[in-house]
Subunit: 238 residues, 2 copies
DNA sequence: TATAATCAAGTTGTCAGACAAATTTTTGTT
DNA sequence: AACAAAAATTTGTCTGACAACTTGATTATA
């Protein structure tokens, strides 16, 4: 699955770049291409992806330089991954509780978000994620019934709708997340064992397929302090 | 400033992609290259940037397809821009008040964040951003004195430290922002004319130069509802 | 007729080599 | 030592080619 030369190239370059000091110059393109066994054109395409991510900077006539100290490559919000995966990297022991799968019918908000008619049959998956038995997040996913029906819900559920859809081979591409902060509503507060009005970080996300269809509309509530969400922002004019 | 053919190409492609329906196929690479007046190699480099951003998907032998409905290209957090610029796009009339520039000495947090010794001379720039005369954000930037000193502080200040540094030609590259939610501390609450403990969205950012130096460590507090921060997250395995 | 195999055209992936443009280093001259 | 010119280096772009893959039409076969 995937383009062998390009992907290998990309990870080899990633190693090279992350192991370089800030401001260090990379070998010239002809050198690198020969050393990595690809043509300069292919190398340049891979380089362009790192430039897009703001990790390197190229100057005609001078060379290619590593932009400093973005310590962990792509461990931020740029890449969509499940809390499971995230927690794994943070050495957190995470578990799922209060799992509820139910069938509902689309209200105005959900119909609009999912691009379906009002009162369309939907499936909601609610659960509380716990770290060391303390609630740290409440996740509510809503999917069209033909994407995931309450009946066909998997017997073993790791807690991640994303992982389930990916494992099934769904052609997912991107998720668009709106980031906000809110005071905990009563129901969420109860689930997270906090006071109503306590501060929560909230993501409202739409998950898209290749064809542009929204297959998952979700509200995620996070207790501040347990997760560190960060993002690398590129300065506009480079 | 920049690479003429490539940048022009990129914005022309952006128009093409954002105006295409979800799942639509783009013209073939030879066609596009001829139409846009560049070689296929250059075109492919530009395409790769959009692929990196998850906006298009390419399938060997089949074609290049637009991934659906990421309505506004790059208006999210991926690109660092000032609130001014942001507000401009949202047709918000924004103004600055309570502007305070002061000289301080680095405490432990700031020394660590900026990578300078303890008690180094620093400059802090605080201000409140208002939309329609209502406070909507409180920004606190801290910079080493040699980057920006209180003395040389510009007479006319638009409210954006970023815009100032960029206008001066500083080689900025990326900013790393940590995203969290907090209850308003007393001092921030007073400035934003809200109650202590009211919910705020907070960004803690480090702004890097080409050489990897941190030139700005900032805390930004946003009143929920006035700004819509969003981010496009790419599914990991594509 | 229905189904399977084959073929042809089109498209992306990669390559080699070349030259232009910008920068850096070296060399020559005063 | 200081400055100017030339050479070498490096990224930016172009051209043309072929390989690998997908898709749809065509042909052969049961």
């Amino acid at each position: 699955m995937g383009n062998f030369p390009f992907q290998r190239l990309q990870s080899e370059l990633a190693v090279l770049i992350t192991h370089a000091k800030a401001g260090e110059r990379l070998p010239s393109e002809p050198d690198l291409a020969k050393r990595l066994g690809v043509s300069r054109a292919t190398l340049r395409e891979a380089m362009r992806t790192f430039e897009t991510q703001g990790l390197i900077r190229r100057r005609q006539g001078a060379g290619t330089f590593v932009v400093g100290q973005v310590p962990v490559i792509e461990s931020g919000l740029e890449v969509l991954e499940s809390l499971d995966t995230m927690a794994g990297r943070m050495n957190l022991d995470i578990s799922v509780s209060e799992l509820t799968v139910s069938q509902v019918f689309a209200d105005k908000d959900h119909a609009e978000a999912l691009g379906v008619p009002l009162a369309t049959k939907l499936t909601t998956v609610q659960r509380v994620m716990r770290a060391d038995s303390r609630p740290v997040a409440h996740l509510v996913d809503t999917l069209p019934d033909d994407v995931l029906s309450a009946q066909q819900f998997p017997d073993v559920f790791g807690g991640s709708v994303l992982d389930f859809l990916l494992g099934r081979g769904d052609p997912l591409t991107v998720s668009r997340a709106d980031i906000s902060a809110i005071g905990a509503p009563a129901d969420v507060a109860k689930l997270l064992e906090i006071q109503r009005g306590d501060v929560l970080l909230k993501f409202t996300s739409r998950l898209y397929t290749t064809s542009g269809r929204v297959v998952d509309f979700s509200h995620s509530y996070f207790l501040p302090g347990y997760f560190h969400f960060h993002i690398v922002r590129r300065v506009g004019n480079i």
